[in-house]
Protein backbone atom coordinates (compact mmCIF):
# COMPACT_ATOMS: atom_id res chain seq x y z
CA UNK A 1 0.00 0.00 0.00
CA UNK A 2 2.67 2.49 1.02
CA UNK A 3 5.60 2.68 -1.37
CA UNK A 4 8.58 3.55 0.84
CA UNK A 5 10.74 4.31 -2.19
CA UNK A 6 8.24 6.98 -3.20
CA UNK A 7 8.15 8.39 0.33
CA UNK A 8 11.94 8.49 0.33
CA UNK A 9 12.30 10.14 -3.06
CA UNK A 10 9.71 12.79 -2.20
CA UNK A 11 11.55 13.46 1.05
CA UNK A 12 14.86 13.60 -0.83
CA UNK A 13 13.46 16.12 -3.28
CA UNK A 14 12.38 18.33 -0.39
CA UNK A 15 15.86 18.12 1.16
CA UNK A 16 17.55 19.05 -2.11
CA UNK A 17 15.24 21.97 -2.69
CA UNK A 18 15.74 23.15 0.88
CA UNK A 19 19.51 22.89 0.73
CA UNK A 20 19.57 24.86 -2.52
CA UNK A 21 17.32 27.66 -1.34
CA UNK A 22 19.93 29.40 0.82
CA UNK A 23 18.13 32.72 0.66
CA UNK A 24 14.91 31.03 1.76
CA UNK A 25 16.59 29.57 4.83
CA UNK A 26 18.13 32.87 5.82
CA UNK A 27 14.93 34.75 5.01
CA UNK A 28 12.80 32.51 7.15
CA UNK A 29 15.23 32.80 10.07
CA UNK A 30 15.17 36.59 9.95
CA UNK A 31 11.59 36.93 11.14
CA UNK A 32 12.01 34.95 14.40
CA UNK A 33 15.36 36.62 14.88
CA UNK A 34 13.84 40.10 14.72
CA UNK A 35 11.10 39.09 17.16
CA UNK A 36 13.68 37.73 19.56
CA UNK A 37 15.97 40.70 19.24
CA UNK A 38 13.47 43.54 19.40
CA UNK A 39 10.80 42.07 21.66
CA UNK A 40 13.11 39.95 23.77
CA UNK A 41 15.82 42.48 24.39
CA UNK A 42 13.41 45.40 24.48
CA UNK A 43 11.04 43.95 27.06
CA UNK A 44 13.65 42.04 29.02
CA UNK A 45 14.13 44.79 31.60
CA UNK A 46 10.42 45.22 32.12
CA UNK A 47 8.21 43.01 34.20
CA UNK A 48 5.57 41.67 31.83
CA UNK A 49 2.43 41.04 33.90
CA UNK A 50 1.55 37.38 34.19
CA UNK A 51 5.04 36.07 33.51
CA UNK A 52 6.07 34.07 36.56
CA UNK A 53 8.54 35.89 38.81
CA UNK A 54 12.10 34.74 38.33
CA UNK A 55 11.54 34.13 34.62
CA UNK A 56 13.02 36.79 32.38
CA UNK A 57 10.91 37.83 29.39
CA UNK A 58 13.38 36.43 26.88
CA UNK A 59 13.08 32.99 28.50
CA UNK A 60 9.33 33.29 28.31
CA UNK A 61 9.51 34.45 24.69
CA UNK A 62 11.88 31.85 23.16
CA UNK A 63 9.47 28.87 23.24
CA UNK A 64 6.83 31.14 21.73
CA UNK A 65 9.11 32.21 18.90
CA UNK A 66 10.10 28.60 18.23
CA UNK A 67 6.39 27.81 18.07
CA UNK A 68 5.91 30.67 15.63
CA UNK A 69 8.74 29.43 13.43
CA UNK A 70 7.22 25.95 13.38
CA UNK A 71 3.75 27.32 12.64
CA UNK A 72 4.87 29.36 9.64
CA UNK A 73 7.31 26.84 8.26
CA UNK A 74 5.00 23.83 8.50
CA UNK A 75 1.89 25.51 7.12
CA UNK A 76 4.03 26.71 4.18
CA UNK A 77 5.15 23.12 3.69
CA UNK A 78 1.56 21.92 3.64
CA UNK A 79 0.61 24.69 1.23
CA UNK A 80 3.58 23.91 -1.04
CA UNK A 81 1.24 21.59 -2.94
CA UNK A 82 -0.07 24.84 -4.41
CA UNK A 83 3.37 25.72 -5.76
CA UNK A 84 3.71 22.30 -7.30
CA UNK A 85 0.33 22.78 -8.91
CA UNK A 86 1.32 26.24 -10.14
CA UNK A 87 4.59 24.98 -11.65
CA UNK A 88 3.02 21.82 -13.05
CA UNK A 89 5.13 19.37 -11.09
CA UNK A 90 2.10 18.10 -9.18
CA UNK A 91 0.92 16.34 -12.34
CA UNK A 92 4.20 14.46 -12.60
CA UNK A 93 3.68 13.29 -9.02
CA UNK A 94 0.01 12.45 -9.50
CA UNK A 95 0.38 10.28 -12.63
CA UNK A 96 3.00 8.12 -10.90
CA UNK A 97 1.86 4.60 -10.01
CA UNK A 98 2.08 5.04 -6.24
CA UNK A 99 -0.68 5.26 -3.66
CA UNK A 100 -1.82 8.74 -2.73
CA UNK A 101 -1.01 7.92 0.89
CA UNK A 102 2.66 7.50 -0.07
CA UNK A 103 2.60 10.95 -1.66
CA UNK A 104 1.14 12.52 1.47
CA UNK A 105 3.65 10.67 3.67
CA UNK A 106 6.50 11.90 1.51
CA UNK A 107 5.30 15.47 1.90
CA UNK A 108 4.83 15.14 5.64
CA UNK A 109 8.27 13.62 6.26
CA UNK A 110 9.96 16.18 4.02
CA UNK A 111 8.03 19.08 5.52
CA UNK A 112 8.63 17.92 9.07
CA UNK A 113 12.36 17.59 8.49
CA UNK A 114 12.78 21.11 7.11
CA UNK A 115 10.48 22.54 9.78
CA UNK A 116 12.49 20.85 12.54
CA UNK A 117 15.74 22.18 11.09
CA UNK A 118 14.27 25.70 11.20
CA UNK A 119 13.00 25.26 14.76
CA UNK A 120 16.29 23.90 16.07
CA UNK A 121 18.22 26.69 14.32
CA UNK A 122 16.05 29.28 16.08
CA UNK A 123 16.67 27.50 19.39
CA UNK A 124 20.43 27.59 18.78
CA UNK A 125 20.35 31.26 17.85
CA UNK A 126 18.40 32.10 20.99
CA UNK A 127 20.96 30.23 23.07
CA UNK A 128 23.60 32.45 21.55
CA UNK A 129 21.44 35.38 22.69
CA UNK A 130 21.43 34.16 26.27
CA UNK A 131 18.65 31.58 26.46
CA UNK A 132 19.33 28.61 28.72
CA UNK A 133 17.46 25.29 28.73
CA UNK A 134 15.92 24.31 32.06
CA UNK A 135 16.78 20.63 32.16
CA UNK A 136 18.46 18.44 29.64
CA UNK A 137 16.19 15.38 29.56
CA UNK A 138 13.07 17.49 29.11
CA UNK A 139 14.75 18.91 26.03
CA UNK A 140 13.96 15.69 24.13
CA UNK A 141 10.31 15.88 25.12
CA UNK A 142 10.43 19.42 23.75
CA UNK A 143 11.54 18.00 20.40
CA UNK A 144 8.50 15.72 20.47
CA UNK A 145 6.30 18.78 20.96
CA UNK A 146 8.02 20.44 18.01
CA UNK A 147 7.32 17.44 15.76
CA UNK A 148 3.67 17.39 16.84
CA UNK A 149 3.31 21.10 16.04
CA UNK A 150 4.88 20.46 12.61
CA UNK A 151 2.51 17.54 11.89
CA UNK A 152 -0.54 19.56 12.93
CA UNK A 153 0.13 22.51 10.66
CA UNK A 154 1.37 20.50 7.68
CA UNK A 155 -1.94 18.65 7.81
CA UNK A 156 -3.64 22.02 8.13
CA UNK A 157 -1.78 23.37 5.07
CA UNK A 158 -2.66 20.27 3.06
CA UNK A 159 -6.35 20.76 3.76
CA UNK A 160 -6.25 24.29 2.38
CA UNK A 161 -4.02 23.37 -0.57
CA UNK A 162 -6.48 20.64 -1.56
CA UNK A 163 -9.40 23.04 -1.47
CA UNK A 164 -7.72 25.81 -3.45
CA UNK A 165 -7.13 25.73 -7.21
CA UNK A 166 -4.53 28.48 -7.40
CA UNK A 167 -2.49 30.90 -5.32
CA UNK A 168 -5.18 33.56 -5.08
CA UNK A 169 -6.40 32.73 -1.61
CA UNK A 170 -2.87 32.44 -0.30
CA UNK A 171 -2.58 35.90 1.25
CA UNK A 172 -5.97 35.50 2.88
CA UNK A 173 -4.87 32.31 4.58
CA UNK A 174 -1.69 33.92 5.88
CA UNK A 175 -3.38 37.09 7.16
CA UNK A 176 -6.68 35.73 8.40
CA UNK A 177 -5.68 32.31 9.70
CA UNK A 178 -1.97 31.91 10.34
CA UNK A 179 -1.40 35.28 12.01
CA UNK A 180 -4.46 34.98 14.30
CA UNK A 181 -3.34 31.47 15.25
CA UNK A 182 0.03 32.95 16.18
CA UNK A 183 -1.32 35.86 18.24
CA UNK A 184 -3.92 33.71 20.00
CA UNK A 185 -1.38 31.12 21.04
CA UNK A 186 0.18 33.10 23.86
CA UNK A 187 3.52 33.11 22.11
CA UNK A 188 4.25 36.74 23.07
CA UNK A 189 2.48 37.19 26.42
CA UNK A 190 0.66 35.07 28.98
CA UNK A 191 -2.93 34.23 28.03
CA UNK A 192 -4.07 35.45 31.46
CA UNK A 193 -3.69 38.98 30.11
CA UNK A 194 -6.36 38.43 27.44
CA UNK A 195 -10.09 39.12 27.96
CA UNK A 196 -12.10 35.99 28.59
CA UNK A 197 -13.84 35.93 25.18
CA UNK A 198 -10.50 35.89 23.37
CA UNK A 199 -9.02 33.41 25.81
CA UNK A 200 -11.74 30.95 24.78
CA UNK A 201 -10.52 31.23 21.19
CA UNK A 202 -6.98 30.70 22.39
CA UNK A 203 -7.92 27.38 23.89
CA UNK A 204 -9.24 26.28 20.47
CA UNK A 205 -5.85 27.03 18.92
CA UNK A 206 -3.58 23.95 18.78
CA UNK A 207 -0.50 26.14 18.95
CA UNK A 208 -1.50 27.25 22.48
CA UNK A 209 -0.89 23.75 23.80
CA UNK A 210 2.25 23.32 21.69
CA UNK A 211 3.84 26.49 23.04
CA UNK A 212 2.74 25.83 26.63
CA UNK A 213 4.23 22.35 26.31
CA UNK A 214 7.46 23.80 24.95
CA UNK A 215 7.62 26.22 27.91
CA UNK A 216 7.11 23.33 30.27
CA UNK A 217 9.94 21.39 28.64
CA UNK A 218 12.41 24.19 28.03
CA UNK A 219 11.98 26.55 31.01
CA UNK A 220 10.00 24.43 33.50
CA UNK A 221 7.14 26.93 33.54
CA UNK A 222 3.77 26.04 32.06
CA UNK A 223 0.17 26.90 32.83
CA UNK A 224 -1.12 23.40 32.02
CA UNK A 225 0.43 20.04 33.01
CA UNK A 226 2.90 18.81 30.37
CA UNK A 227 1.10 15.48 30.02
CA UNK A 228 -2.17 17.22 29.22
CA UNK A 229 -0.47 19.46 26.65
CA UNK A 230 1.12 16.41 25.10
CA UNK A 231 -2.16 14.54 24.88
CA UNK A 232 -4.03 17.43 23.30
CA UNK A 233 -1.20 18.15 20.87
CA UNK A 234 -1.00 14.49 19.82
CA UNK A 235 -4.76 14.45 19.22
CA UNK A 236 -4.58 17.60 17.10
CA UNK A 237 -1.65 16.20 15.10
CA UNK A 238 -3.49 12.96 14.40
CA UNK A 239 -6.73 14.62 13.37
CA UNK A 240 -5.00 17.17 11.14
CA UNK A 241 -2.84 14.56 9.43
CA UNK A 242 -5.88 12.41 8.83
CA UNK A 243 -7.92 15.28 7.42
CA UNK A 244 -5.00 16.53 5.32
CA UNK A 245 -4.53 13.11 3.78
CA UNK A 246 -8.24 12.69 3.24
CA UNK A 247 -8.69 16.02 1.44
CA UNK A 248 -5.52 15.59 -0.60
CA UNK A 249 -6.70 12.19 -1.80
CA UNK A 250 -10.08 13.57 -2.75
CA UNK A 251 -8.84 16.62 -4.64
CA UNK A 252 -8.64 16.51 -8.44
CA UNK A 253 -5.08 16.96 -9.57
CA UNK A 254 -5.70 19.12 -12.62
Amino acid sequence: MVSWTAVYVLWLREMKRYARAKSRIIGSLMQPLFFLAFLGLGFNRMAVPGVQSGVSYIHFLVPGIIGMTLLFSSSMQGLSVLWDREFGFLKEIMVAPVSRVSIVLGRITGGTTTTMIQGVLVLLISMVMGFRLGSFHFFFLGLVFMVLIAFTFIGFGLIFASKMKDMQGFGIIINFIIFPLFFLSGALYPLKNLPLAIRVLSYADPLTYGIDGLRGCFINVASLPIALNLLIMAAFALIMLFLGTYFFEKSESV
Binding site: T5, R13, A21, F89, E92, V95, A96
Partner: protein
Protein backbone atom coordinates in the same frame (compact mmCIF):
# COMPACT_ATOMS: atom_id res chain seq x y z
CA UNK B 1 0.61 -9.96 -24.08
CA UNK B 2 -1.34 -10.38 -27.31
CA UNK B 3 0.30 -8.75 -30.27
CA UNK B 4 -2.91 -7.45 -31.77
CA UNK B 5 -4.35 -6.02 -28.59
CA UNK B 6 -5.42 -2.42 -28.85
CA UNK B 7 -3.32 0.03 -26.87
CA UNK B 8 -6.35 2.17 -26.21
CA UNK B 9 -10.05 1.48 -26.39
CA UNK B 10 -12.54 4.24 -25.72
CA UNK B 11 -16.32 4.03 -25.86
CA UNK B 12 -18.73 6.93 -25.38
CA UNK B 13 -16.29 8.74 -23.14
CA UNK B 14 -17.83 11.90 -21.67
CA UNK B 15 -16.64 14.59 -19.27
CA UNK B 16 -18.90 17.34 -18.04
CA UNK B 17 -17.70 20.29 -15.93
CA UNK B 18 -20.60 22.05 -14.24
CA UNK B 19 -22.28 23.57 -17.30
CA UNK B 20 -19.82 22.64 -20.07
CA UNK B 21 -19.48 19.28 -21.77
CA UNK B 22 -15.76 19.19 -22.54
CA UNK B 23 -15.75 15.72 -24.08
CA UNK B 24 -18.97 14.38 -25.52
CA UNK B 25 -19.50 10.67 -26.24
CA UNK B 26 -16.16 10.06 -27.91
CA UNK B 27 -15.29 6.56 -29.16
CA UNK B 28 -12.09 5.34 -30.80
CA UNK B 29 -9.34 2.79 -30.52
CA UNK B 30 -5.59 2.94 -31.09
CA UNK B 31 -3.58 -0.13 -31.99
CA UNK B 32 -0.20 -1.02 -30.50
CA UNK B 33 2.57 0.94 -32.21
CA UNK B 34 0.26 3.45 -33.82
CA UNK B 35 0.88 7.18 -33.85
CA UNK B 36 -2.53 8.69 -33.31
CA UNK B 37 -3.31 12.40 -33.49
CA UNK B 38 -6.02 14.47 -31.86
CA UNK B 39 -6.38 17.65 -33.87
CA UNK B 40 -8.50 20.60 -32.91
CA UNK B 41 -8.53 24.18 -31.68
CA UNK B 42 -7.95 25.17 -28.05
CA UNK B 43 -10.90 24.16 -25.94
CA UNK B 44 -11.96 21.32 -28.24
CA UNK B 45 -11.50 18.78 -25.45
CA UNK B 46 -8.15 17.25 -26.40
CA UNK B 47 -6.41 17.83 -23.08
CA UNK B 48 -9.46 16.71 -21.13
CA UNK B 49 -9.43 13.47 -23.13
CA UNK B 50 -5.74 12.95 -22.33
CA UNK B 51 -6.31 13.75 -18.64
CA UNK B 52 -9.02 11.12 -18.45
CA UNK B 53 -6.93 8.51 -20.23
CA UNK B 54 -3.97 9.22 -17.95
CA UNK B 55 -6.13 8.85 -14.77
CA UNK B 56 -5.89 12.51 -13.72
CA UNK B 57 -9.58 13.18 -14.28
CA UNK B 58 -12.52 10.90 -13.65
CA UNK B 59 -14.80 10.48 -16.67
CA UNK B 60 -18.42 11.48 -16.15
CA UNK B 61 -19.54 8.46 -18.14
CA UNK B 62 -18.32 5.98 -20.75
CA UNK B 63 -15.56 3.41 -20.89
CA UNK B 64 -11.82 3.78 -21.45
CA UNK B 65 -9.12 1.16 -21.43
CA UNK B 66 -5.38 1.83 -21.73
CA UNK B 67 -2.91 -1.03 -22.28
CA UNK B 68 -5.68 -3.45 -21.34
CA UNK B 69 -6.60 -1.76 -18.04
CA UNK B 70 -9.68 0.27 -17.29
CA UNK B 71 -8.76 3.83 -16.35
CA UNK B 72 -11.21 4.11 -13.47
CA UNK B 73 -10.74 0.69 -11.92
CA UNK B 74 -7.06 -0.11 -12.44
CA UNK B 75 -5.49 3.31 -12.03
CA UNK B 76 -2.08 2.17 -10.84
CA UNK B 77 -1.71 -0.40 -13.63
CA UNK B 78 -2.67 2.24 -16.19
CA UNK B 79 -0.20 4.67 -14.61
CA UNK B 80 2.57 2.10 -14.85
CA UNK B 81 1.88 1.50 -18.55
CA UNK B 82 1.84 5.10 -19.72
CA UNK B 83 4.21 8.01 -20.14
CA UNK B 84 2.78 11.51 -20.22
CA UNK B 85 4.20 14.76 -21.50
CA UNK B 86 1.85 17.49 -20.37
CA UNK B 87 1.01 20.65 -22.23
CA UNK B 88 2.63 22.83 -19.59
CA UNK B 89 6.07 21.81 -18.32
CA UNK B 90 5.88 19.52 -15.29
CA UNK B 91 9.52 19.62 -14.22
CA UNK B 92 11.10 20.68 -10.94
CA UNK B 93 13.28 23.65 -11.87
CA UNK B 94 15.27 23.39 -8.63
CA UNK B 95 16.49 19.93 -9.55
CA UNK B 96 18.99 19.10 -12.29
CA UNK B 97 17.97 17.26 -15.44
CA UNK B 98 19.39 14.02 -14.11
CA UNK B 99 17.70 14.46 -10.73
CA UNK B 100 14.34 14.99 -12.41
CA UNK B 101 14.82 11.73 -14.28
CA UNK B 102 15.99 9.91 -11.15
CA UNK B 103 12.98 11.16 -9.24
CA UNK B 104 10.79 9.74 -11.96
CA UNK B 105 12.47 6.36 -12.14
CA UNK B 106 12.25 5.92 -8.37
CA UNK B 107 8.58 6.87 -8.35
CA UNK B 108 8.07 4.17 -10.99
CA UNK B 109 9.93 1.62 -8.91
CA UNK B 110 12.99 0.95 -11.10
CA UNK B 111 15.86 -0.75 -9.31
CA UNK B 112 19.27 0.88 -8.94
CA UNK B 113 20.90 -0.71 -12.01
CA UNK B 114 17.95 -0.11 -14.34
CA UNK B 115 17.75 3.39 -13.03
CA UNK B 116 21.29 4.33 -13.89
CA UNK B 117 21.15 2.65 -17.29
CA UNK B 118 17.78 4.06 -18.31
CA UNK B 119 18.56 7.60 -17.21
CA UNK B 120 21.76 7.50 -19.28
CA UNK B 121 19.94 5.95 -22.23
CA UNK B 122 17.15 8.48 -22.41
CA UNK B 123 19.51 11.41 -21.83
CA UNK B 124 21.51 10.24 -24.81
CA UNK B 125 18.37 9.76 -26.87
CA UNK B 126 17.38 13.41 -26.50
CA UNK B 127 21.00 14.63 -26.60
CA UNK B 128 21.01 16.17 -23.14
CA UNK B 129 23.82 14.10 -21.63
CA UNK B 130 26.16 17.09 -21.30
CA UNK B 131 23.42 19.22 -19.68
CA UNK B 132 22.37 16.54 -17.22
CA UNK B 133 23.84 18.24 -14.16
CA UNK B 134 22.45 21.70 -14.92
CA UNK B 135 19.42 22.92 -12.96
CA UNK B 136 16.31 22.61 -15.11
CA UNK B 137 15.32 26.24 -14.47
CA UNK B 138 18.30 27.18 -16.66
CA UNK B 139 17.09 25.03 -19.59
CA UNK B 140 15.55 26.52 -22.72
CA UNK B 141 11.97 25.69 -23.68
CA UNK B 142 13.11 23.13 -26.24
CA UNK B 143 15.48 21.43 -23.79
CA UNK B 144 12.72 21.17 -21.20
CA UNK B 145 10.45 19.54 -23.74
CA UNK B 146 13.12 17.05 -24.74
CA UNK B 147 13.81 16.23 -21.10
CA UNK B 148 10.11 15.62 -20.52
CA UNK B 149 9.87 13.34 -23.52
CA UNK B 150 12.91 11.47 -22.22
CA UNK B 151 11.33 11.21 -18.80
CA UNK B 152 8.10 9.85 -20.24
CA UNK B 153 10.05 6.95 -21.70
CA UNK B 154 12.15 5.83 -18.73
CA UNK B 155 9.82 3.19 -17.43
CA UNK B 156 9.23 1.49 -20.82
CA UNK B 157 5.65 2.69 -21.27
CA UNK B 158 3.39 0.96 -23.78
CA UNK B 159 1.56 4.19 -24.50
CA UNK B 160 3.00 7.67 -24.60
CA UNK B 161 0.75 10.74 -24.39
CA UNK B 162 2.11 13.94 -25.85
CA UNK B 163 -0.12 16.94 -25.17
CA UNK B 164 0.85 19.73 -27.58
CA UNK B 165 4.51 18.69 -27.54
CA UNK B 166 5.72 21.60 -29.65
CA UNK B 167 3.50 24.42 -28.43
CA UNK B 168 5.47 27.66 -28.21
CA UNK B 169 8.69 26.25 -29.65
CA UNK B 170 10.55 27.71 -32.61
CA UNK B 171 10.38 26.03 -36.00
CA UNK B 172 13.80 24.41 -35.76
CA UNK B 173 13.20 22.88 -32.33
CA UNK B 174 9.80 21.72 -33.49
CA UNK B 175 11.39 19.86 -36.40
CA UNK B 176 13.82 18.31 -33.96
CA UNK B 177 11.05 17.08 -31.68
CA UNK B 178 9.13 15.66 -34.62
CA UNK B 179 12.16 13.59 -35.55
CA UNK B 180 12.42 12.23 -31.99
CA UNK B 181 8.77 11.33 -31.89
CA UNK B 182 8.95 9.50 -35.20
CA UNK B 183 12.09 7.67 -34.15
CA UNK B 184 10.64 6.66 -30.80
CA UNK B 185 7.53 5.34 -32.37
CA UNK B 186 9.49 3.26 -34.92
CA UNK B 187 12.29 1.94 -32.70
CA UNK B 188 10.33 1.09 -29.57
CA UNK B 189 6.93 0.22 -31.00
CA UNK B 190 5.39 2.49 -28.40
CA UNK B 191 1.91 3.77 -29.21
CA UNK B 192 1.78 7.52 -29.21
CA UNK B 193 -1.26 9.73 -28.74
CA UNK B 194 -0.48 13.26 -29.70
CA UNK B 195 -2.66 16.33 -29.44
CA UNK B 196 -1.94 19.37 -31.52
CA UNK B 197 -3.55 22.32 -33.13
CA UNK B 198 -0.83 22.55 -35.76
CA UNK B 199 -2.07 21.01 -39.00
CA UNK B 200 1.38 20.33 -40.43
CA UNK B 201 2.38 18.55 -37.24
CA UNK B 202 -0.52 16.13 -37.39
CA UNK B 203 0.04 15.65 -41.11
CA UNK B 204 3.75 14.92 -40.75
CA UNK B 205 3.58 12.63 -37.74
CA UNK B 206 0.34 10.76 -37.44
CA UNK B 207 -0.81 7.44 -38.87
CA UNK B 208 -4.38 8.41 -38.14
CA UNK B 209 -5.98 11.66 -37.10
CA UNK B 210 -9.17 12.45 -35.24
CA UNK B 211 -10.47 15.95 -35.78
CA UNK B 212 -12.06 17.22 -32.62
CA UNK B 213 -14.45 20.14 -32.32
CA UNK B 214 -16.60 21.16 -29.34
CA UNK B 215 -15.90 17.91 -27.54
CA UNK B 216 -16.78 15.61 -30.42
CA UNK B 217 -14.92 13.78 -33.16
CA UNK B 218 -16.02 15.18 -36.51
CA UNK B 219 -13.72 12.94 -38.57
CA UNK B 220 -11.25 10.13 -38.02
CA UNK B 221 -8.98 8.67 -40.70
CA UNK B 222 -5.47 8.63 -42.17
CA UNK B 223 -4.21 12.07 -43.27
CA UNK B 224 -4.31 11.12 -46.96
CA UNK B 225 -7.84 9.70 -46.80
CA UNK B 226 -8.98 12.80 -44.97
CA UNK B 227 -7.54 14.93 -47.74
CA UNK B 228 -9.18 12.76 -50.41
CA UNK B 229 -12.53 13.72 -48.97
CA UNK B 230 -11.96 17.19 -50.37
CA UNK B 231 -11.82 15.98 -53.95
CA UNK B 232 -8.84 17.93 -55.26
CA UNK B 233 -6.95 21.20 -55.16
CA UNK B 234 -8.24 24.42 -53.76
CA UNK B 235 -7.92 27.61 -55.78
CA UNK B 236 -8.43 30.84 -53.89
CA UNK B 237 -9.41 33.97 -55.76
CA UNK B 238 -9.43 37.36 -54.15
CA UNK B 239 -11.55 39.83 -56.03
CA UNK B 240 -12.24 43.54 -55.88
CA UNK B 241 -15.85 44.50 -55.47
CA UNK B 242 -18.82 42.24 -55.10
CA UNK B 243 -17.94 38.58 -55.69
CA UNK B 244 -21.57 37.37 -55.75
CA UNK B 245 -22.08 37.21 -59.59
CA UNK B 246 -18.81 35.31 -59.89
CA UNK B 247 -19.85 32.95 -57.16
CA UNK B 248 -23.09 32.19 -58.99
CA UNK B 249 -21.25 31.62 -62.26
CA UNK B 250 -18.77 29.20 -60.63
CA UNK B 251 -21.55 27.27 -59.00
CA UNK B 252 -22.99 26.49 -62.40
CA UNK B 253 -19.77 24.91 -63.70
CA UNK B 254 -19.62 21.15 -63.23
CA UNK B 255 -15.82 20.85 -63.00
CA UNK B 256 -15.80 22.99 -59.93
CA UNK B 257 -16.77 20.60 -57.18
CA UNK B 258 -17.23 23.01 -54.37
CA UNK B 259 -17.44 26.77 -53.99
CA UNK B 260 -17.29 28.67 -50.76
CA UNK B 261 -16.84 32.27 -49.86
CA UNK B 262 -14.61 33.63 -47.09
CA UNK B 263 -15.22 37.38 -47.03
CA UNK B 264 -13.51 38.78 -50.15
CA UNK B 265 -12.04 35.51 -51.36
CA UNK B 266 -13.57 32.52 -53.09
CA UNK B 267 -12.42 28.98 -52.39
CA UNK B 268 -12.93 26.62 -55.33
CA UNK B 269 -12.28 22.91 -55.22
CA UNK B 270 -11.26 21.15 -58.46
CA UNK B 271 -8.88 18.63 -60.02
CA UNK B 272 -5.68 19.98 -61.62
CA UNK B 273 -6.16 23.46 -60.28
CA UNK B 274 -3.03 24.86 -61.92
CA UNK B 275 -4.45 24.21 -65.40
CA UNK B 276 -7.79 25.85 -64.61
CA UNK B 277 -6.55 29.16 -63.26
CA UNK B 278 -6.42 31.00 -66.67
CA UNK B 279 -9.96 29.91 -67.36
CA UNK B 280 -11.17 31.18 -63.98
CA UNK B 281 -9.62 34.57 -64.60
CA UNK B 282 -11.19 34.79 -68.06
CA UNK B 283 -14.61 34.12 -66.58
CA UNK B 284 -14.08 36.83 -63.99
CA UNK B 285 -13.03 39.33 -66.66
CA UNK B 286 -16.11 38.53 -68.75
CA UNK B 287 -18.21 39.49 -65.73
CA UNK B 288 -16.18 42.68 -65.29
CA UNK B 289 -14.69 41.57 -61.98
CA UNK B 290 -11.03 42.20 -61.24
CA UNK B 291 -9.10 39.37 -59.66
CA UNK B 292 -6.48 40.85 -57.35
CA UNK B 293 -4.82 37.69 -56.12
CA UNK B 294 -4.80 33.99 -56.96
CA UNK B 295 -3.30 31.13 -55.14
CA UNK B 296 -3.40 27.42 -55.46
CA UNK B 297 -3.31 25.04 -52.57
CA UNK B 298 -2.88 21.34 -52.72
CA UNK B 299 -5.26 19.93 -50.09
CA UNK B 300 -4.00 20.27 -46.53
CA UNK B 301 -5.45 19.30 -43.22
CA UNK B 302 -6.40 22.94 -42.76
CA UNK B 303 -8.86 22.46 -45.61
CA UNK B 304 -10.02 19.20 -44.15
CA UNK B 305 -10.73 20.99 -40.91
CA UNK B 306 -12.57 23.70 -42.81
CA UNK B 307 -14.55 21.05 -44.64
CA UNK B 308 -15.70 19.26 -41.51
CA UNK B 309 -16.31 22.21 -39.23
CA UNK B 310 -17.13 25.00 -41.68
CA UNK B 311 -14.36 27.17 -40.23
CA UNK B 312 -10.61 27.44 -40.36
CA UNK B 313 -8.87 26.52 -37.15
CA UNK B 314 -7.86 30.16 -36.59
CA UNK B 315 -11.38 31.49 -36.97
CA UNK B 316 -12.43 28.73 -34.69
CA UNK B 317 -10.16 29.99 -31.97
CA UNK B 318 -11.27 33.57 -32.43
CA UNK B 319 -14.87 32.40 -32.27
CA UNK B 320 -14.19 30.47 -29.11
CA UNK B 321 -12.75 33.55 -27.44
CA UNK B 322 -15.78 35.47 -28.54
CA UNK B 323 -18.01 32.83 -27.06
CA UNK B 324 -16.15 32.91 -23.76
CA UNK B 325 -16.49 36.68 -23.60
CA UNK B 326 -20.19 36.47 -24.30
CA UNK B 327 -20.52 33.81 -21.65
CA UNK B 328 -18.76 35.98 -19.13
CA UNK B 329 -20.93 38.96 -19.95
CA UNK B 330 -24.00 36.82 -19.53
CA UNK B 331 -22.70 35.73 -16.15
CA UNK B 332 -21.95 39.29 -15.19
CA UNK B 333 -25.51 40.39 -15.88
CA UNK B 334 -27.01 37.72 -13.72
Amino acid sequence: MEADMDAIRVENLTKRFEDVTAVNEVSFSVSQGELFGLLGPNGAGKTTTINMLSTLLKPTSGFAEVAGFEVTKNRDKVRKSIGVVFQEPALDGKLTGRENLEFHSMMYGLNRDDRRRRVDDVLKLVELTDKASVLVEKYSGGMKRRLEIARGLIHWPKVLFLDEPTLGLDAQTRRHIWDYVKKLNKDNNVSIILTTHYMEEADFLCDRIAIMDYGKFVALDTPSKLKDVLGGDVVCLEVEGDPEPLLREFKSLDWIKKVSRQEESLHLTMEKGERRIPELITIAQQLGITVSCVHLRKPSLEDVFLHFTGRTIREQEAGLNERNRMGMMAHGRR
